[in-house]
Amino acid sequence: MNVDPVDMDALSELFNVGLHRAAASLSELTGQRIGVDMPRLWVCKASEIEERMLSLLRGELATVHQIFSGAVAGDAVLLIEPDKAAALARFMTSGEAAIGGRLDQSAREVLVEIGNVVLGACLSSFGDMLHVPVTFSVPRIHVDSLAGVLAALRTETEEVQYAVIAATRFGLSTMEVDGYLIVAVGAKSLARIFSAMSGKA
């Protein structure tokens, strides 16, 4: 999809700020330093997400899904490979969650919290820029294939759905975890985002 490089740059900065905020919150939670890589971004039609991501993500994924509404409305999903997610949960709780490397109940709960922090920080970046509050649903965790995740994104509206995909890497002292964010919004919301960004230019 053709997006003005100026707008892509702005989106990139928004996600960058959001991810760093999330990293700072997680750092407070765990008492350790957490680094985030500058996110790589793609914008495409929601129907093209699967094709685009197939090369990046295979098999089952641990996902945290939140629905947001307000001036900008849509779905936000954080995707991580399940064993990396379990390792992350285990590491961040000093071994109390994800016993035996499995995504047990404790690990899932920890991941919901992590997902809530990451998605919330990125979405409030949008909200800050648009000067409107964005409200979030209760985040839910699923372990599912990419196709399954995409099917769960809400589709009741007749609007064409677009997606902003951000790829980043979380760096902790002993591991790195690739994380992908998908923010799926309707055409109207996307237009609002772009006009707010260029309005500032």
């Binding site: 709780t93 109390e96 109940q105 404790s106 919290e113 919330g120 649903s137 985040p139």
Partner: protein, 404 residues
């Protein structure tokens, strides 16, 4: 109907409290000043505070030991955010008494979700906390983790024990053999021929002791899943010939005949040559030990598709009863022979040989006719695949050019 992302009115809150009671979950709501406006029955029963007594007060006021993270989370929710407080990071939201009397928990362990209460215009008018008691599950998980850690520690201790035992046992035996040699060679002074005879005897016995120790250690290592398989390229015929050379002296002493038949062209196997040799020496040694007459044969054959090698050791000894054909592979069992002589040994030779054969993806089988003789066949894949067969698989595999 699209999902309601936040509670949108007070009636919904009341419903949530009732649902919370049904599901045994705590539901507490506060207004924008943090004043408690809802407190469900579950919370009444676990906290000992009745709703009438808490309405109008604030949570930090009611629970002075409430943590700063919990208070901050409530503030964020009142400001409009959805907050998750997982047990793994926070332990609990409200300091309530632990519901279980076993375990180290003073407080109930909780998972909590905090949601803003939003009016029709989308403005925040308060927040609701939904609190789930996970104490029992957390306790079980902690015990599981402890059990796993103990098992891993025990495993490590076992490995360390075996490693040090190997060293502790071999060293003194080696010293005995070494000093005996030096004595026999006259390094410490002249020795009489009679003394040499006795020194040779000591040498033989200590070599035998070493052999028994090795056998026991191998057995223990394989049982513990600690035996390593070192794969090298070996010619099957060469291994057979080498093993035969070892038992040659015993053979000649007993006046037995020996035939060996190996394939004309080299049969290159990818396997642990040391272990194959060990098995062959054991089988040939047994054949010699239990035979008083006749010929001992060693045949090395490759099967049709060229995937398996058979090493066949046959003797013309007393043979083995059919009912004992499996018993001989049991550890520490020695089946009495008609010669009514208990033979030296640990009773581990055959069990270990079978363990090792299976470790390399093969097997060891026995056939016998009482009074005529016995045949022991070692079947090994040309390319060793340690997990392909048998009940025992080595935990550590080294694939490389190193020899023993």
């Amino acid at each position: 109907m699209s999902e309601v992302s936040a509670l949108s009115n007070m009636a919904l809150n009341a419903l949530l409290r009732d649902v919370g009671d049904m599901l045994e979950v705590g539901v507490v709501s506060v207004d924008t000043h943090g004043t408690i406006i809802g407190w469900n029955r579950w919370l009444e029963s676990v906290s000992g505070h009745r709703a009438a007594d808490v309405l109008g007060r604030s949570l930090p006021d009611l629970f002075p030991s409430m943590g700063p993270a919990a208070i901050a989370a409530l503030d964020r929710a009142v400001a409009g955010a959805t907050v998750v407080l997982s047990h793994g990071f926070h332990r609990f939201f409200l300091p309530l008494q632990s519901p279980i009397d076993h375990g180290p928990y003073e407080f109930m362990q909780q998972n909590t979700r905090l949601l803003p209460i939003v009016d029709a215009n989308g403005n925040s008018v308060g927040a609701t906390a939904i609190i789930q008691d996970v104490t029992e599950r957390v306790h079980r998980e902690a015990e599981l983790r402890l059990a796993i850690e103990r098992a891993e520690a025990a495993n490590r201790a076992k490995s360390a024990f075996l490693a040090s035992m190997s060293h502790e046992l071999r060293t003194p035996i080696g010293a005995v053999a070494g000093y005996t040699d030096l004595l026999r060679d006259g390094i410490f002074g002249e020795v009489t021929p009679a003394q040499v005879v006795h020194l040779e005897r000591i040498k033989r016995v200590s070599a035998h002791l070493l052999h028994i120790v090795e056998e026991i250690l191998t057995f223990a290592r394989v049982e513990a899943g600690r035996e390593e398989v070192r794969i090298t390229e070996t010619d099957a015929g060469t291994v057979a010939i080498e093993a035969s050379a070892v038992i040659q002296p015993m053979l000649e002493k007993k006046g037995l005949h020996f035939d060996i038949c190996v394939p004309e062209t080299a049969v290159i196997m990818h396997t642990d040559a040391v272990k194959v040799r060990q098995i062959m020496i054991n089988l040939l040694g047994n054949a010699v030990k239990f035979s008083s007459k006749g010929t001992i044969r060693l045949d090395v054959r490759v099967d049709e598709p060229g995937t398996q090698v058979a090493f066949i050791v046959s003797d013309e000894g007393p043979g083995i009863d059919e009912e004992n054909l499996e018993r001989i592979f049991e550890p520490f069992t020695q089946v009495e022979s008609t010669l009514s002589r208990t033979h030296e040994g640990t009773g581990l030779g055959l069990p270990v040989s079978r363990q090792l054969a299976r470790l390399m993806g093969g097997d060891l089988v026995a056939e016998s006719v009482k009074g005529k003789g016995s045949t022991f066949t070692v079947l090994l894949p040309i390319v060793s695949s340690p997990y392909a067969g048998g009940t025992i698989s080595g935990e550590h595999l080294l694939v490389g050019e190193s020899s023993s």
